[in-house]
């Protein structure tokens, strides 16, 4: 219950921070690039923590996939901003994302075993849902550069897959728990 409330608060915080960036003229391309890159780095950090803590084969395979895919997108994003001679610009949304990401890592550090695995899978569902919402409602429509928009669209298709995969993982872990009861 406490965990659910914490997650809901964290998500509400993330959404309201995103709303700040949406107010006014909306985020610029350098800000959007920074937000997308930061979102990827947060998920990579969460996956590294999962690899350090979890012994569950499915959880570890999922975490390895997250690292591989998000590193690939971020590498492409860096190559693109280099090509466009754009410097990603820190902004309240990316700062909010980083802060919440660090807070989540600290919370997760206290868990272990199946409790960690279940929380990781649930967080991954929630996190990808929020990032996908931000991508489709704000980041993609507000991006000006065609190549950046294209990369974000590929990113959205990828993260939607991750969300489905995380949902499947969470169900499997929950199923295992029910069977044990």
């Amino acid at each position: 219950m406490i965990r659910t409330v914490t997650m809901a608060l964290a998500l509400a915080g993330l959404v309201s921070t995103a709303a700040v960036a949406q107010s006014g003229a909306g985020p610029t391309d350098p800000q959007i690039a920074h937000i997308a890159y930061t979102a990827g780095q947060i998920d990579i950090a969460a996956a590294r923590q999962a690899l350090a803590k979890s012994k569950n084969r499915q959880v570890r395979a999922f975490a390895q996939e997250m690292i591989r895919d998000h590193e690939a997108v971020n590498k492409q994003a860096l190559a693109l901003v280099g090509k466009l001679k754009v410097t990603p610009e820190a902004n309240p949304t990316s700062a909010g994302l980083s802060k919440q990401g660090e807070q989540k890592l600290r919370e997760m550090a206290r868990l272990r075993g199946p409790a960690f695995d279940r929380a990781y899978a649930q967080n991954e569902v929630a996190y990808h849902k929020v990032v996908n919402g931000a991508l489709s409602s704000t980041l993609i429509p507000q991006s000006d550069n065609a190549e950046l928009k294209d990369l974000l669209q590929t990113g959205l298709r990828l993260f939607q897959e991750h969300q489905l995969h995380a949902e499947h993982l969470a169900q499997n872990l929950q199923g295992r728990r029910s069977k044990r009861k």
Binding site: E65, R68, D69, A72, V73, K75, Q76, D150, Q153, T154, R157, L158, Q160, E161, L164, H165
Partner: protein, 117 residues
């Protein structure tokens, strides 16, 4: 005499079967067109269009132009091609009929091969 007769009969049978073998090979060759190479590209989290006119014995060249690792995995487990980003691989199409395939890492990526005999 009987022994000699058996020997001749066996030799005749061998010659006949060899001749039949040659005949069947000769008959099969013109009927079967040379195997073709068809390319299916993986890019931006999707498979390119499935090739038309695919026949058993043809080759599919899977090309992963995406930045992500993908697979082409048959639902019926008849093939599984696992490709890191930027790599490609050749696969001989063995089975005729319809085969659905997907990416095990990103199961929303789906495709279907339609293979004639």
């Amino acid at each position: 005499m009987a022994k000699y007769g058996k020997g001749r009969a066996a030799a005749a049978l061998l010659t006949l079967s060899a001749a039949l073998g040659t005949l069947s090979v000769a008959n099969a060759a013109p009927a079967r067109a040379a195997p073709k190479v068809h390319t299916i590209v993986m890019n931006k989290m999707a498979y390119g269009p499935s090739p038309t006119g695919l026949r058993a014995g043809d080759v599919i060249l899977w090309v992963n132009k995406d930045m992500f690792r993908h697979t082409a995995t048959a639902r019926d487990k008849s093939f599984n091609v696992d490709l890191p980003a930027g790599k490609s691989a050749r696969m001989i199409v063995k089975k005729a009929g319809l085969t659905n395939y997907y990416c095990i890492y990103h199961p929303g990526m789906k495709g279907q091969l339609a293979v004639a005999k």
